[in-house]
Symmetry: C2
Subunit: 327 residues, 2 copies
């Protein structure tokens, strides 16, 4: 049941059917009606695969999203998907576990399927992938991340500054023994570590490696990291946790250790996911403009796909969201 059958039944050419289907050219009312009637009657559904082939565009975007900080990424994804969809694009999702090889696999997948553009939310440290990315002419936007050395447009906050500000916020509250829980080896995490160090150093406070614990941005890893920190016996009056999801685990660990947030220890998160406002205590956090990141990165991708150029870096501003978890 293709356009040909519809054409035959309506007594017109396939060109005419195509035209009424797409509104690409004027078709006289009576022919249009006949065609529409046949389409209705036969329950004809246009084949966008065939159309994509001749048009050389699929109206589909690829989204590469890591399987961590789900709540945070999910929110960017939702917003971006909405924008893209309103613009007539479908979305193909690739959720990536954190292995170097996999991003490449997904990239190949998306390329083979001729997506019109890609929203990349997952950093990779595999230089081979970079090569491929540089070569391919496909529009790509980095959302929320930075890949140093890859000249692709980015929409994100200034992670160094945000972390610096977060640390200063805790210092301003009189905290002097600030633990840090995060994940290293990615530009985002590493920048945040630097911001933390800088703020400490400015405050003439020593940087104590024992106060730095790594997690993988899951709730459970936050809990484990905090347990480690507590067991270390280090003096601690606050912990800066580089994702709200980990912070949830951190607060649980504090509770299970018989301590109280914020009485015994203040907790400052990072990201600003919705659920933070509903926790007990509510989570203070360095809040990213998550929806704005989703929106702007999707719009940038839309521009790129239209052949327009976009600024290489869109820096959005973070805020400190207060909450009961610090005092």
């Amino acid at each position: 049941m293709g356009i040909r059958e519809i054409a035959k039944e309506a007594g017109v050419s396939v060109a005419t059917v195509s035209r009424v289907l797409n509104g690409t050219k004027f078709v006289s009312e009576d022919l249009k009606e006949k065609v529409l009637a046949c389409i209705q009657k036969e329950g004809y559904v246009a084949n966008h695969v065939a159309r994509s082939m001749v048009l050389k565009k699929t109206l589909t975007c690829g989204l590469i999203i890591p399987e961590v900080s789900e709540l945070y990424h999910q929110m960017i994804f939702s917003t971006a998907e909405r924008i893209l969809e309103n613009a007539g694009y479908k979305v193909m999702v690739c959720r990536v576990k954190d292995t170097l090889a996999s991003v490449r696999v997904y990239l190949d997948l998306l390329l083979e399927n001729r997506v019109d553009g890609i929203l990349l939310m997952h950093e990779t440290s595999n230089p081979k992938v970079y090569e491929q990315l540089k070569k391919s002419q496909i529009p790509i936007i980095l959302a929320g991340i930075d890949i140093p050395g890859l000249p692709l447009p980015q929409v994100r906050i200034d992670d160094y500054q945000a972390s610096y500000d977060g640390t200063r916020y805790l210092l301003g509250l009189g905290k002097r023994h600030i633990g840090l829980i995060g994940g290293w080896g990615y530009s985002v995490g590493d920048k945040r570590l630097e911001g933390y160090k800088e703020a400490l150093s400015e405050a003439q406070l020593p940087f104590k490696p024992a106060l730095i614990v790594s997690g993988d941005y899951t709730v459970e890893s936050g809990k484990l990291a905090m347990q480690k920190l507590i067991e270390s016996g280090e003096n601690l009056d606050a912990v800066f946790v580089l994702s709200d999801e980990m912070a949830i685990g951190v607060m649980r660990a504090v509770k299970e250790a018989g301590l109280s947030v914020p009485h015994d220890i203040s907790i400052l998160g990072f990201d600003g996911i919705t659920v933070g406002k509903y926790l007990n205590p509510t989570l203070a956090t360095v809040s990213q403009p998550i929806e704005e990141i989703g929106l702007q990165s999707a719009e940038a991708l839309l521009h790129l796909m239209k052949g327009e150029s976009v600024r290489p870096l869109t820096l959005l501003s973070h805020t400190i969201r207060e909450g009961e978890s610090v005092q």
Copy 2:
């Protein structure tokens, strides 16, 4: 840069290139090597759009997922996507806001794009959509939901029984004034309401409409519903909340009202999302085998797409997960 160019460059026919690309037939070693070398050299990427057209299958599945109970649906989605992807399928995601029309729009979209199958996680009450669904021969699995009157294979729990068991659990703890927060108008919610009623009735307890408040399965709606319940001044010793996400909002509302969970009021959630275990207090809940739902529904879809038949109903079992939110 198509298969034709590669063929010319390697001095073979397009058929041969296609064969080495897909391994569909034996090709002599030397030809294979030549072809592979050219592919490598030219950075050729196969065009799956063209391939889909001739094969009449896209190796793509559609996922229709509601924009509520994100944490719950997200978990089904993750699992299902992993299974599907391992089987070589791509996933096209459609997130649906709760309007009657929209499911139809997405269904059309997926049909136009010739996905090989659909995982439907969103109920609709629009009978027109049902008609279309019945007519289309495309494999569809309902994951976590029931659409009465639509003979499509389902993978889910027994919501009536689960709600009944949850209510009995609270009754067993000595609760006699059990509020209920949920969303009605969908088979899942309505069944849970029935289970609650049945358990009360068995316990010779009156059903009090004033204790029933509706929410839309978002955190915020849970909070609002609980505020309403508290303001109503009704006697209340427990609240059964029909989604963990709403329960998070509920616990917040209790806290803000100056009351304590579980001392003043016990809270029992529904779903069993991961984060519930990390809340303070940890959330007791009627736990669905979420990953199992994702896994089994994806596998069922895989079977359907292979032309095999699947059982009309796969009923998975729920459990009561204990937590500090009840006493």
